[in-house]
Every structure is written in C-alpha cells, then in structure tokens.
Amino acid sequence: MITREDVENIALLSKLFVPEEELDGLTRSMQEIIDFADAINNAPTSGEEFDNINNLSNVFREDEVIPSYPVTEILKNAPEQAEDHFLVRNRE
C-alpha cells in the first residue's frame, strides 16, 4: 500500500509540488499503477542477466580536446544570466 506520506516523499525527491487537495487522488492513482506493476512479482525469470541491449562494451573516446562552445551560446537559453553565469535569484 502506498500512503499519502510515501507520495509526499516521492514528490519531494522528484522536486514536484502536490497540492494538498490533489494528494488523495494522486495516491489512489499511484496505487492503481503500482498494482498494475505488481504483476511482475510472480513472473518467472530465466536468470538471463540483462546488461545492455546489444551487449556492448568498451566504447571510449580518446583524451583529445575539442574546442568548447562560446559562453554566449552556452548561456543562450538561460532564463536568467549575469556576468557570464547562469543566475538563480533567491526570489522573484
């Protein structure tokens, strides 16, 4: 059983606000989804370990410098910036 407190905690970890009035509804719908996910509890596994889809390994790049982007490009989409930094004002 997932509780309201669980949902609050998950929301905090997910950095999402859940308004008080939506908490019960969300807890119920989370419970439904989790019940659905619980179907796998009884599933038989063949012991086949999953690593990655094509069982790839050792994909590397060489330690060679590639020129960085100009700071104007880096900051281009920033909602706020100052002195070539991304800026988060304490309050707005």
Partner: protein, 472 residues
Amino acid sequence: MTYELVSGFETHIELSTKTKIFCGCTTQFGGEPNTHCCPVCIGLPGTLPVLNKEVVRFAIKAGLAVHGRIADVAKMDRKNYCYPDLAKAYQISQLYAPLIIGGYIELSNGRRIRLHHIHIEEDAGKLIHRHGDTYVDYNRGGVPLIEIVSEPDIRSVDEAKEYVEKLQQVMRWVGISDCKMQEGSMRCDVNISVRPKGTEAFGTRTEIKNMNSITNIARAMEYEYERQVDLIESGGKVIQETLRFDDATGTTSSMRSKEDAHDYRYFRDPDLVTIHVPREEVEALRAEMPELPSEKFERYTEDYGIPEKDAALLTKYRSISEYFDSAIEGVKSPKTVSNFIIGQIFRRVETEADKEIFDVAVKPAQLNELVKLLDSGKIRNNLAKSTLEKMLDSGKGALEFISESDMGGVDEAALLELCKAAVEGNPKAVEDYKNGKEKAIKALVGNVMKNSRGKADARAAEEKIAELIRNA
C-alpha cells in the same frame, strides 16, 4: 571513560586528464566562467556521454598504486539528486560495479588503512552565492574524479593526517592528479564516530563534508571528537547526519534541511556501455608503474641504512627520490648523498612546490661526481661540503673548484716523512708527551697538517706520530 576515535574517509581526487570524463572540453583549472563548456557538460536535452578512455587508465593506475584489485567488469550508474551545480540532476558515478576493489594505505606505525573501493565519476559545477542569489559556472562540471572510499580503520587525527598525506603523495607520484587541496582537486568527506576504548561496536557516525585542507581536517576531527564524547558523557546521543566545518569558528554544524531528502536512486546509466578491463591492459599498466614511494622508502631504510625520517623526506616527492636514485649510482655510501641533499640542497629549495619539481642547480650527475671524489679519499669531507655550496651557487661541477693540488691527499710514505720531520724538529713536545702530557701530540699533528697544507689525514698522522715516539 576513555574513548577511541573511529574514522573513514571518502576522498575525491580530480584526474589530470586533458579532457573531461564525458566530453572533449578541457579540464584546465580556472578559466573565465562557462568557457570550458559544451552541450554535453551543461546537460542540454538530447546530449549523451562518451567515456574518456584515459580516465579508466588513470583510475587503474590509482588502483595499482594502492594495491587494489582491478575489476574485470565495471559499469556506470546514475546517482540522482537535484542541485543547481549538477546540470543533468544526476551524477554519473559507479555503485554496483566499481572499477577498483579493495587496496590499502600503510601508515608509518605499520597499520594498514583498508580501502573499500575506488570508483570513477564526474565532478559538479561551481556555485557562487552572492546576496542570496546563486551564480552557476559549469567549467568544473564533468571533470573526471576518482572517489577513494576507505574502511573505518583510522583511529586518530594523526593517522588521518598521514592517511591523507600518503594518498596525496602516491597519487601525485603515479601522475594521475596534482592533488591540490587548495584548488579543490583533492577533497575529503570525513566519517567520524567514537566508542569506549576496548569495545568493538561502532558508534553512530557523522560525516563532515568537503574538507579542503589537512589542517582543517585535523581541526574538524578534533572538534567533532570532543563534541561526540561530550554529548555521550552528558547522556546524549549522536545523530547520524551530514556536517559542515566552519573555518572561522573551528566548529561543525548540521547541513540538514528538509529540502535534501536524500535517496540517490542509483541505477545503471543506460547511455553508457559496460567496461571490460582486459588483463593484458592491467599488466601493461603495471609494468609502466614507477617504483612506489613505499617501496623506495623500504629500499632506502633497509638497503642503505638511511634513517626513516630522512627516507621519508627523500620519498615525499617522486622528483626528489629520482634525483637521489640517480645521484647514488656507483657511490659507496648512499647515506652521504642523502645527507648532502637533506642538509645542504634542501636549504636552497624553499617552497613545497619547488620541492615537488626539485629542479636544483646541481644536477644528480654532478653530486654523484663530488661524492665519488670523497669516496676515493681524494678530498675530505669539509672540502666536499664547501665545494657543494659553491656548486649550488654557480651550477658548475666540482672540478671547477678543486685544484689538482687539493686532491690526492698524502700517501703513506709521504705521511711517514712528514711525521718523522715533526718528531725530530720538536723535541720539547715529544718530551712533554712522553711525560704524560697527551695533548702535546696535537702540536705535532698540527705541524704535519701545516706542512701538508691540510691534505693529510689528521687521525692517521696522530697514530703514526704516537707510534714513532713509542718506538724511538
């Protein structure tokens, strides 16, 4: 009741690869804000990481340097937490299959601080807080790190200091990091708890985050030890929590807030593939490894009879030990070389930074030449010392300062002649000596030294004169 300190360290070391761990941006320290950045290291949507091969090689070298086991298979995981310095809201790290397992650092008291593992991961960006606002610079974001996680084997502040110094020494030694604590390329999280001495069970631990100098590590640990002991003595309980150390007040305080409910939700990073470490590659890297400081220390103390204190100085930096090793080639007493380096050359190298580079005016071959002159009895110790000073001043070789006539000393026959002349020419002194005035012989020796222009061996002369008088 007496208490015992129990501590374990999580040490982050920035690797000195040319580029970041998952993109081609430079790792150079400093730089104008956000100029060492690209879509990958600022985590733009749709970007993907590609692992820098050199990071794996450097980490393996680190593992070999601390006697760790190199895993056959390693994997990258995501550590999820949301903070403005972490562009993707997760740090790519290793939890389930780290690259290095085990290992240890041996302290001078013989105790081994065991390592749990070493993993590779990416560094975060830098936050500057000004008037409550936060400025974010991602230049450091994505710089490769290794995290060295020790077992809780440290039992005193002195052990902690030595542990950090030894790690710093060996990681610099194998050339994977400059380990500059003041620049943040080496940082420690210190776990600390106390327990009544003689008991086994661990107490509740606290973790002091992000310590960036050995002095502060010592201060913070001393403070935290006292705080925990006082707390327990007064009937309180230590709470497991994360602390920060305040440099100004010398105290620790809690970092906890409701906002960082930490549950890192580690899982395999689906964007990166498995790392298989071929044994041949490990062996090739092992073959490339320099003789480690601990191995050199053992050779210096046991094979050469150099005092431990001096051997520690010689092995503090790889450059000094290499200087020493090349200066002792073919000499009779490596200890003499050590004395010259520590007694005279060190005085010319003022800072730690200069010691680390150890680029001195006298080249190892020149010191070697000087010591060989001494070995062969061609010059005397006093002359060697003063000559070394002149060499250090000028960068010139020993022979520039020692004339032919200074060398060669006085052979047996010549010494006998000189002694005979002294005995014959000073009957008064001989008489006094015969009458028990032992000091009178000094005048006769002085006569020999004067006539040999200081080249004769004073002790040999004294023996010879005494013999002449006895047999007269």
